[in-house]
């Protein structure tokens, strides 16, 4: 990005009208990917001068325990429902989860899910890092996920959505294909970086379960209806869009929410306008359909 400039210069402006439609590999109009955030929040993290981790003095029992629910209960409930309806995950991973709870990471890997990095912990923020520090967390992410799963990460969602002006340049330099941190479009687009070939992967932040339940205060059934409306609208528009369902199993995996959510997966799985896939596969298919964009 152009540090300090009013327009950070992240991408070209391309209006929605007049784009050339294209079909996803199965002939579908909407690529649908589910992104479980598999996270670890520390009980007593050091303070980042730009952002506090917890609202209360440590231990913030409700904050910590709520997120711990994901790794004890919620993950399996959510993952079973996804597998039952044929949805793989594309995991936004706090890579230290590979050390703390390898059972969760192994379960996701065994289900054929893709991993990309969501930082070391969701309680360690990038704000204020120098370049060497930021390189350290990128290299740690690549190494840790490779050792734990055999996968080479292709994407990045900044830890707790905290960035520096150089994050996108650095992840592109390290060979990553996509960033989930830019919310300007329902289709992938090239991102301007110093080197590499980075694209923006639509992450549909507005239908993130956290937004549904804690920004918009939806009931579980309202959230399910929202996801179906999002899919139906995109499927009725021009072909070649992306819908992400970003999830946290401590939210969607609660017993009052998982039933309505299962109906969403049943609905989308029954519609052949959907291409149900993973983020890396979307990046690959989009590149194949747009060879000119990354020349």
């Amino acid at each position: 990005m152009q540090e300090g400039a009013a327009d950070p210069g992240l991408y070209d402006f391309t209006p929605y009208r007049g784009r050339k439609p294209f079909a996803w590999p199965n002939g579908g109009k909407v690529a649908v990917w589910v992104s479980p955030n598999l996270e670890y929040y520390e009980i007593d993290p050091p303070l980042n001068p730009h952002r506090k981790a917890w609202a209360k003095p440590h231990p913030d029992v409700v904050g910590y325990a709520h997120r711990d629910h994901a790794n004890r209960v919620g993950h399996w409930r959510m993952a079973e429902v996804m597998s039952k309806h044929g949805f793989p995950g594309s995991v936004s991973l706090s890579v230290a989860l590979c050390q703390h709870h390898p059972e969760v990471v192994a379960d996701a890997n065994a289900r054929g899910w893709e991993f990309f990095s969501h930082g070391i912990y969701n309680t360690r923020y990038s704000y204020g890092m120098d370049e060497a520090q930021e390189r350290a967390i990128i290299e740690d992410s690549i190494r840790t996920v490779r050792e734990a799963t055999g996968q080479t990460i292709r994407g990045w969602l900044a830890p707790a959505l905290t960035h520096t002006p150089r994050t996108l340049d650095l992840i592109a330099e390290y060979g990553m294909d996509y960033t989930c941190d830019l919310y300007h479009d329902d289709q992938p687009f090239p991102v301007h970086t110093r080197s590499g070939h980075l694209i923006s992967m639509p992450y549909s932040l507005e239908v993130n379960d956290h937004y549904g339940f804690f920004v918009y205060n939806m009931s579980p059934r309202e959230y399910a209806r929202t996801l179906i409306n999002q899919f139906e609208r995109l499927a009725a528009e021009q072909s070649g869009t992306v819908m992400c369902i970003p999830l946290h199993s401590y939210l969607i995996g609660q017993p009052h929410r998982i039933g309505p959510f299962e109906e969403v997966l049943r609905h989308i799985a029954a519609d052949d306008r959907a291409w149900i896939t993973r983020s890396g596969d979307i990046a690959g298919a989009w590149r194949a359909a747009h060879p000119e964009a990354l020349s």
Binding site: P57, H100, H256
Partner: protein
């Protein structure tokens, strides 16, 4: 600009948790639980019964539901009292009609100021659990350990003296604890707390105290007051949860549906009919085991 190098050091990055309060245990790997009578879903109401001084304290933090306007805040002081005088009696009647016994998390101040309420709880067959002194009795790290110890002791002693019950459970205001709390609860002779919402069945801390998790998301406060949904939606969400847990219980062992209530929230006239219908709907489900916290604790301990 750069961060202190310690910010990129991870001394607790290891197998298991970054603390030693309790061990990691994924639910699918645990021994399945069997509740009494072959029921699948322990359905547990916890009613918080609270007295808010009209002179609020912010040390270490101001309790949820506390005074909000400049002094004197008649609006919130009296609205909270409404819950204890009126709303709570609607709940007691509803529980009696449905044959349900519950846990009541009461401030010591309730016992000291309104012993009749405690007598009515005991007469209804309900369990009392300790819930601090009054709503200025919040706990968080930074509260000196001797003050926290005195607060816990006062809370337990006052309830025991007025009720004649042996108090076994602890519910902290806002579920907030310090790093000392779990050891102080053990020292006070308590068997369990309800504050750690990380699970859906009971589990044990390293020191032997049990946590019976009281889900904060399925509380009347969260759904009706924070998220501002209707009482009909609240009841629908509770039944959706119950149905899901009942299906899981059939395949994977006993489950727990904890339902946290606040008399000044659920006990309003326009909400009570829906709540009584919810009680009837839960009663009609064959997998329901209505239980108190102590009964759930004892069943869990007998199986471990």
């Amino acid at each position: 600009m750069s961060l202190d190098p310690a910010y990129l050091e991870y001394p607790n990055r290891r197998l298991g948790y970054d603390h030693d309060l309790y061990p990691y245990s994924p639910l699918p790997k645990r021994k399945p639980l069997a509740w009494p009578g072959g029921k699948g879903v322990a359905t547990w109401f916890v009613v918080s019964l609270e007295w808010f001084p009209i002179t609020p304290s912010d040390k270490p933090f101001r309790a949820p539901g506390h005074m909000q306007t400049a002094y004197p805040d008649y609006r919130h002081y009296t609205s909270r009292e409404y819950g204890t005088r009126v709303g709570f009696y609607r709940l007691l009647d509803a529980f009696a009609k449905a044959g349900v016994r519950v846990s009541v998390a009461a401030n010591a101040a309730i016992a000291e100021r309104y012993p009749q309420v405690i007598a009515d709880i005991v007469a209804g067959g309900h369990e009392l659990i300790a819930h601090s002194t009054d709503m200025n009795g919040t706990i968080a790290s930074g509260l000196p350990e001797d003050e926290e110890r005195a607060l816990i002791t006062h809370a337990v002693t006052a309830l025991e003296q007025v009720s004649g019950q042996n108090v076994r459970g602890w519910h902290a205001i806002a579920r907030s604890q310090s790093f000392n709390t779990v050891n102080l609860l053990k020292e006070a002779g308590l068997d369990y707390c309800v504050d750690w919402v990380n699970d859906e069945v009971p589990w044990s801390f390293a020191n032997g105290v049990v946590n019976v998790p009281l889900n904060h998301e399925l509380s009347d406060r969260q759904i009706l007051t924070v998220q501002q949904q209707s009482v009909d939606s609240y009841a629908e969400q509770v039944l959706d949860a119950h149905d899901w847990l009942a299906a899981e219980a059939t395949a994977q062992g006993g489950r727990l549906l904890p339902l946290h209530l606040t008399p000044y929230i659920i006990g309003l006239p326009y909400r009570m009919d829906a709540f009584e219908r919810l009680l009837a709907d839960l009663s009609a489900r064959p997998q329901t085991w209505f239980a108190t916290g102590a009964e759930i604790l004892d069943s869990y301990r007998s199986q471990m």
